[in-house]
Amino acid sequence: MSLKLKELNVGTSLPELKRRVTQEHINLYADASGDHNPIHIDPEFAKNTPLGGTVAHGMLILAYISEFMTENFRQDWLTSGNLSARFKGAAYPEDTVTVSGKIASIETQGDYAIINCEVICQNQKNEPVIICSTKVRVKTDEDSS
């Protein structure tokens, strides 16, 4: 789905995105990104580290945030998206993470609206995995498409 600009106000919550983190997806991400750090893909190695097991790449979880923004803002996000993320915790295989967010502010700049959102990705225990501020530019005279 995508949101229409007229539906957006400060405080508006954006539709959530949920993902179950699996070792299979972590392995697929390792192959797709070329990041084969054993902390992500080698359970034997990872169990002897302070993390106690393999964890998802931070950039994989950040990709969920980008997918969340893409679902909500479509092409506007792909061509003008801006994010500032802080990694707060690890996501483990079999965790379910939820990305949620709301509109923090809307600024008008000429024919465009700059929509600032506060976005958080949490695990099933409501522990933060990533906290993120995002910004997207949307034309004011037409709906986000």
């Binding site: 797709a32 950039m59 994989l60 893409t70 479509r74 061509t79 998206g81 500032s84």
Partner: protein
């Protein structure tokens, strides 16, 4: 990637890494979207590359240029998507050490990344920060 790596201890603020070439074909984009469970229709419709796929490869290129001590933690990531990139476009990633500082028992390292297309138009910029233990 066949390239020279530099150790973290040898770099300082202002150091510029050798540029890296990035190219994503449709198979690579599909592999990426399968990994992140992304909505393929958005990208297939216009044959564009998910910008996070570009940033993932820029990070991988950086990892291929830099050796960091065990225990390095990726603490933050800033990204700006500036332009659409089509499948099979050839991109070049430039990376520079924006800050390297000592903080107690740790080092903090911030690296700026800029990805350009063949026309030298910047399509993506970012800044990535790590905390690294003294080794």
């Amino acid at each position: 990637m066949n390239q020279q790596k530099i150790d973290f201890s040898e770099i300082s603020t202002g150091y510029e890494f050798e540029p890296s070439e990035i190219r994503l074909n449709s198979e690579a984009v599909t592999a990426y979207l399968n990994a992140v469970e992304g909505d393929k229709s958005i990208y297939e419709q216009d044959k564009v590359i998910p910008p996070m796929a570009i940033s993932a490869l820029a990070m991988a290129a950086l990892a291929g240029r830099l050796t960091m001590p065990p225990g390095a933690i990726h603490v933050s990531q800033d990204l700006q998507f500036l332009s659409r990139v089509s499948i099979d476009e050839t991109l070049t990633s430039h990376a520079r050490v924006n800050r390297k500082m000592e903080r107690g028992k740790f080092n903090m390292l911030t690296i700026g990344v800029r990805v350009v297309n063949k026309k030298q138009t910047t399509v993506l910029t970012g800044e990535t920060s790590f905390i690294l233990p003294f080794s």
